[in-house]
Symmetry: C2
Subunit: 194 residues, 2 copies
């Protein structure tokens, strides 16, 4: 593995330093250019490392984005496991996994939403994850007509529920038992999954 | 109609002045105490008018709250007309009315959401309308089990869709034809209405 040096940003040092340097550069690129505009090669160049080192540490661009957010829940892993079993019963798995993952971290979720929606930043990391992890993953599973519109409406249902449960804390949703939310909300979501 | 005078806040003057004085006081009370904590009597007292004058100008407390927001769309009127015809086909009427009302004012909606969610203010006017106009009106129509949870999940669907369409501007939802959104999204919402 070769590394290219950039003045003032040594690529040498231990793994933790290099990971941290890559994440700093990646965070700045995602903020400035958005997910689509950001390039793994450009990030590697500025961090003074080979692009294969970024893939080795973090995986693909979605995972790099998620790594920059230092989330308590890995949305890529979670959604991969949900979609792996196909569309049958997916709404129930998606809702149960989402609620079980985020209930213990509702304050983090709330801060992410407040940051993303409180600013005018179309490339807020939370929004990029919604677009490029959630919606993109749903599209791998959905078939039939208007699948892109349906994927964005499934995201609407999920993000709306999470916003009222965690951010607005609308009762009785905010305190409802996860099983009750899943039982009521999975059928309407499954209708859009097909 | 009697009016009580408060020093420095004359209740006399023309109607526009009095309406405006009432709205200023009401806005401050809703901001400080929230919808439930705010009292029509206390607002009347501080504005130096009789409470019956507030009812005469604005109607009930929900309408007074809405009046303080100076919205381009009156959500009380809109939702009254939607629920007047009962639960059959209500999701379609609710979505069509909502989208037709807010599409031309999407920037106002976006500013309301950003203000409500960007701050830590549990009594943001937009949230009070969601609770005390939208959810309260849905509850007048819903019957059957867990109707309060279902009402908050219908609000989740509506607010999630509007946030992704107007604030996040997620495509293809942001540019989708209203008829396509209604056709795809009304059945899942109707499932929660019953």
């Amino acid at each position: 593995m070769t590394t290219r040096r950039t003045p003032g940003r040594p690529a040498s040092g231990d793994t933790a330093d290099r990971r941290s340097a890559i994440l700093d550069v990646a965070r700045a690129h995602f903020a400035a250019k958005g997910f689509r505009g950001a390039s793994m090669r450009a990030i590697a160049r500025e961090a003074g490392v080979d692009v294969s080192l970024i893939s080795h540490y973090f995986g693909d661009k979605s995972r790099l984005l998620v790594a920059t957010m230092e989330l308590p829940v890995d949305p890529v892993d979670k959604i991969r496991s949900v979609i792996a079993d196909g569309p049958d019963g997916m709404a129930e798995r998606l809702l149960r996994t989402f609620i079980e993952s985020w209930d213990p971290h509702h304050e983090v979720f709330s801060a992410l939403v407040r940051t993303a929606l409180g600013s005018d930043d179309a490339h807020a990391p939370m929004l990029e994850v919604a677009r490029n992890v959630l919606v993109a993953s749903l599209l791998e599973v959905l078939v039939g007509e208007e699948r892109e519109l349906r994927a964005s409406l499934i995201a609407s249902q999920l993000i709306g529920m999470a916003t009222l449960r965690y951010v607005v804390r609308l009762e009785p949703l905010a305190s409802a038992d996860p099983a009750d939310v899943v039982r009521q909300y999975a059928p309407p979501m499954q209708l859009l999954i097909g």
